[in-house]
Amino acid sequence: MENENKNLIDADRVMRLAGEMGVRLIKNGAEIYRVEESLIIICESYGMEKVKIFALPTLIILRFEQNGTVYTDQFRLHSDTVNLDRLEKLNNLCRDIKDHLSIDEAEKTLAEIIGTKKYPTLISYIAYGFVGMFYTLFWGGRWIDALLGFVCAVVVRAVVLFAKKFKTNVLFKNILAGFFLGLLPYLSALLISGVMIDKIIIGVIMLLVPGIGIANVMRDILAGDTYTALLRFTNILIIGIGLAIGISVSLAFLPKVIAAGGAL
């Protein structure tokens, strides 16, 4: 019996590895059905039997058996970012595990992936600026509007990061972001004549609206993850309501803009 146990992989280690993997996958923007598939593959590759998993964007419950002993654990998480770089690496790691990567190697690689550096703050600010700038042009703004869109996007990014630092809730964060999103174009329109306020707001709003979320709701429903779809849908609604309140607050103070909005 003891000899048999020596050849087996420690179930606790597998549980920790799989749990961390699942948490990271969801945090970096993977689809739920992919997370469930990946974790089943990992656990089965390390010899666990009867693997059952239930994953939500906020919770993973994992359960498997080894030699008739049942192991189960749950992992709480908050998903709010997308990191495609890490997602790819996690996906590769999962594929390697399927091709018989040892658990020591897998743990090491996972720790490396978690430690991957993100883009420096300056570059991410500039990227946000360019997104605002080119979407303003995309929706028919002129170059002067695009430059203001750049500034507006950078400010909105700073506001979002500020709100994140103080762990405000989703609703308040988006109200705040929406407020500055409406305020800046209006102020610049007072200084420079002929600024197209609507184009700037439309351009920069792209940074706050979860585009992939809308598509994912439908994909989750079709994949059978209705709970996930409901959670995501509620989240999108709250973001939308927050932005609407925020922009209304800044625009309601400014009757001129309201008149322009009504004419459209």
Partner: protein
């Protein structure tokens, strides 16, 4: 000049892939290409007109383009489909619709609010349906292949 927004969509999607922390340059370029291809398809079907029904159809075609291209690129580079889809879908988010819906609500023009709101929901729905059609088709074919192999 009619297709100039495609260029802007390309540049914006490229910037967006930096926001989403993508590191490999060829993936960034291809996902930006996916986004601009979507908008190209949307514009190319411009002859259909701009009423709500036809808008929805155009968005559906554009979303199908994004989804198909993402699946192809994902197979080719052995990455998750999400990598291309997340960035490529961005030009199809009806940002203008969202804003005008909101602007009409603020100004109290409830008629235009409902028109714009329905239009926005229809477009977003078309995009969602387009993406999920392709992904469920891919999953069905994958299962079909697996069954064949196991037999």
């Amino acid at each position: 000049m009619y297709y100039l927004p495609c260029l802007y969509a390309f540049l914006a999607c490229f910037a967006f892939s930096v926001v989403f922390e993508e590191k490999r340059v060829h993936i960034m370029l291809l996902s930006a290409f996916t986004g601009s291809a979507a908008w190209f398809v949307y514009l190319a079907f411009g002859f259909l007109g701009a009423n709500i029904k036809m808008q929805t159809v155009r968005y559906l075609f554009a979303a199908l383009t994004v989804a198909v291209l993402s699946e192809i690129f994902a197979r080719f580079f052995k990455t998750p489909t999400t990598v291309f889809l997340t960035v490529g879908i961005i030009p199809l988010v009806p940002g203008a619709g969202i804003y005008y819906t909101m602007a009409n609500l603020i100004s109290g023009n409830l008629h235009m609010f409902s028109v714009k709101g329905l239009e926005t929901v229809a477009c977003a729905g078309a995009v969602a349906v387009g993406c999920s059609l392709v992904s469920s088709f891919v999953r069905i074919t994958a299962e079909f292949k697996k069954n064949k192999q196991s037999k």
